[in-house]
Symmetry: C2
Subunit: 510 residues, 2 copies
């Protein structure tokens, strides 16, 4: 709790903070003061941006987001251009600075996960709400509360994309605005690439990076996405798992059948799917498909780095509300060094008030596979498909034909997509050391260094095509309900986010 | 195909039929002629009744159905009364006849399964459509088509409850109207009990039968529900499986988690559910929970009776669109002599366009257990619960508490309901012999005798409380999409249904 307080104290209670070296003190104090002074207007901007729906499944909704960003970046002397793709445009904003020798490419995510408004405890996921926790529930607070000092860092703003990732976008805009108005000029040029299809798996990004490689050329890539370490201390993340997704559909009778008339006779596709999924993992959640974990060798040096992350697993377990984690590895940090196989959704017939006594005609499971640097996504997908075949399934190309129905007892169709690969940057590369210096200077603590984050970001195309190292600078609270209803960002994190971005904008790169 | 033609021929092509005994010939011919003459107006009545929504989950919708039935039965000299229950009223219609010594109780089902209108190929499940099959698809036909002779028995009427069971209700009303106007007086009194909560599992019926046992007193019970044998020949069914339902919910993290951040760490409730369901049955669909099939002993006499049913399993398999049935028993008729355990619905998080990359917080499966006369439903439910416990689950009373989350790795909540038991009437009881005579007389073939139907009907309370035997007289085509979208009744079956009911109304009971 002391560390946590310190971290809040930096921005919410300047008077009580005991700073380290005097050389950096003035700049740090100014950064904190300027960020605090900009917060109220930054939040207004943030509310405005959050109110623009941004589900990339509805491509036309992204256009107002892009227009909004063009206006915002041009107002602080960036030039902008749309980079057309097969899908939704990418947006590139650029600004050069005198005497800059290097170019830093910044990645921002603009689109958000789909919404199911019925599951949100507010009018709309696109009408931001300020809330605070009272007796374990989140209750609305009027926005005027932000005019009162001292600000409560535990307030949260609830909206789709609050943390993933419009919070980082607007906090970064605010940092740029402050730097611009204070004339704090970085010693590097800035290119900002904005992705509007991240939650779709950025299907058009690899081709676009290839096509616009000259425009995107840079010396390093900084990703402003993802949550901090669960301790909520300043964090740098040096890699991310990749992701592939699969959809498996098993088939029963051609149409749903009355379960009385055909129970014990017509095979049940939900049972088949359950048996198939159960055959992939053991009771401890470990994948038992041979070869799935092949290639991962955590040597003693790596284990030491992982052990330095101050995870308190008993707190993680309590926060998640589980008694025991999966048994893939002995610690959380070790577990995410391995690929994972997850059932992200499953459905057959109806449940709830629409339930009826039938043998369903089909059952579907959506899986995601997280890959690491050592595991080729195609190889993992192939292992899963081989496993399905070994269970006796005939794999259909879409809905089974009548002939397939007559000839094969176990029918399945599948679809898969390899979204993006994993990446990992060494702790000692110059981009890593630069960011470490910047954050240490402003927060007065060494940031937590995460070897690989569990989540996936579409960075591999940049790393591979542009041949540059990448590091993620996360700012949001981990308990933000990312990808779920009631997504939020903690006000303290938003404000520290502005400071985080100012830290590297004001840190000379070499 | 010859047998099938004969059965249609009876009513659609009188001229070509070669009848058996002359003694019954006149009456049979008259029955067929009268039924045919009443068809057009009967269908108008049927359309009107089908247009009344009847999902018992919306209790107020049943009231217009009850009022409609009161008017219809009073028009043919029945007295009616509502029998109040804790749920929706039962309706009782009665009529006495001179010289009647026995009383026959008739069971009708009024409510229908819930509807998902998006899955129906018509405006509304409550706007009946006449259709015929063209090149494998059902296409609309104007109702005027029914004015053309000869009628096409393959036409179908599509609507919720067309077969289950408003078709039988209106066909029976038509039979009563014909008998009434022709002054064909049965030698038994009639009591007709109408159940408006059948698809809910008739939760209030046992108490109501107990409370109104004097009003319901009768010598035998005839159930006008369920489909004929798949050959679509005249059928009598002497028993039915009972039904219990269960809902199992497994729990993962307290709220959905990003599958990247916690994949390999937070246990997945959809995997847990799959593993649990998979542990209940083998690859052949046989329940492997010890004791589940205990008590079923099919002796050689029983096997002989079962073998007399003219199933053509290759046709059943083709109709269902499956290559191989579950391996519970070597034939369909034998398979339904055993209890069954079926996954009727399953869900976790989202699939389709709303899919997102999360570890879900819960997964739910709805099961139904069909019981037979030898298997007590409570015993089967207890076996399943014991099995779940043996898999290491802590069973919560609803959502897990924080304490349960901290102390138990495998959490599950369950709910179960025993709807009604099984029943079975001997082939040689007098009710059985009477109905056999009646159908043989009018259809000129011995009806197919089914020992136990696979589906469940809420008959056990009548059989047990009133201590009377029960037989089902089914009329509808088996391929009626009962309990599913696009439910329908074949016109030939509707017309033969009127004849079937007239057969027993004009057959002296002794």
């Amino acid at each position: 709790m002391l560390r946590r307080y310190l971290s809040y104290g930096l921005v919410f209670g300047l008077a009580v903070i005991c700073f380290g070296s005097m050389a950096a003190q003035i700049q740090r104090e100014i950064i904190l003061e300027k960020a605090n002074a900009s917060l109220r207007s930054s939040i207004e901007t943030f509310k405005e941006f959050l109110s623009l729906p941004n589900d990339a499944h509805i491509p036309e909704d992204l256009d107002p987001n892009i227009e909004w960003l063009i206006t915002a970046f041009e107002a602080i002397d960036f030039t902008t251009r749309r980079l057309p793709t097969e899908g939704i445009d990418l947006l590139l904003a650029e600004r050069s600075f005198p005497d800059a020798e290097k170019t830093v490419l910044i990645y921002l995510q603009i689109d958000g996960q789909p919404v199911d408004p019925t599951k949100w405890q507010q009018n709309s996921p696109y009408e931001p709400q300020l809330k605070r926790k009272e007796n374990g529930s989140w209750v609305n607070v009027p926005w005027e509360r932000l005019d009162q000092q001292p600000l409560d860092p535990e307030l949260r703003i609830f909206a789709r994309s609050a943390s993933d990732a419009k919070g980082p976008v607007v906090a970064f805009l605010t940092a740029l605005q402050i730097a611009s108005s204070e004339q704090w000029q970085p010693n590097f040029n800035l290119k900002i690439i904005m992705d509007c299809e991240e939650e779709l798996g950025s299907p058009n990004l690899p081709a676009a990076v290839e096509m616009f490689r000259d425009q995107l050329a840079a010396d390093m890539l900084i990703i402003l996405d993802g949550p901090r370490h669960i301790s909520n201390l300043p964090t740098l993340t040096f890699g991310a798992r990749g992701i592939a997704t699969m959809r498996l559909t098993t088939y029963g009778p051609r149409v749903p059948q009355h379960s009385g008339h055909y129970g014990n006779y017509a095979p049940n596709p939900a049972l088949r799917l359950s048996q198939l999924l159960a055959s992939m993992k053991d009771d401890d959640g470990r994948v038992i498909i041979p070869g799935f974990y092949q290639g991962i060798n955590l040597d003693s040096a790596t284990l030491k780095i992982l052990a330095q992350v101050p995870d308190r697993e008993e707190v993680i377990l309590r926060d998640l509300g589980i008694a025991k984690p999966d048994g893939v590895a002995p610690s959380y940090q070790e577990a995410i060094q391995y690929p994972s196989l997850n059932i992200r959704g499953m459905s057959s017939a109806w449940v709830g008030t629409k339930v009826r006594t039938i043998i369903p005609e089909a059952a579907v499971a959506n899986l995601d596979i997280r890959t690491v640097k050592e595991t080729d996504p195609q190889r993992l997908v192939d292992l899963v498909i081989d496993h399905i075949t070994r269970q006796g399934y005939h794999i259909c190309d879409g809905e089974p034909t009548e002939e397939e129905r007559q000839n094969h007892a176990k029918l399945l169709s599948l679809h898969y997509e390899i979204s993006y690969g994993a990446f990992r940057t060494g702790f000692n590369e110059s981009v890593s050391l630069w960011l470490d210096r910047a954050l240490t200077r402003v927060f007065n603590v060494t940031p937590i260094k995460i070897r690989t984050s569990g989540g996936s970001i579409p960075i591999a195309p940049f790393v591979q095509t542009l041949d540059i190292p990448a590091v993620t600078v996360p700012i949001v609270n981990r308990d933000n309900n990312q990808h779920s209803p009631n997504e939020n960002i903690r006000l303290g994190n938003y404000l520290e986010g502005i400071c985080t971005y100012l830290a590297f904008l004001t840190e000379p790169v070499n």
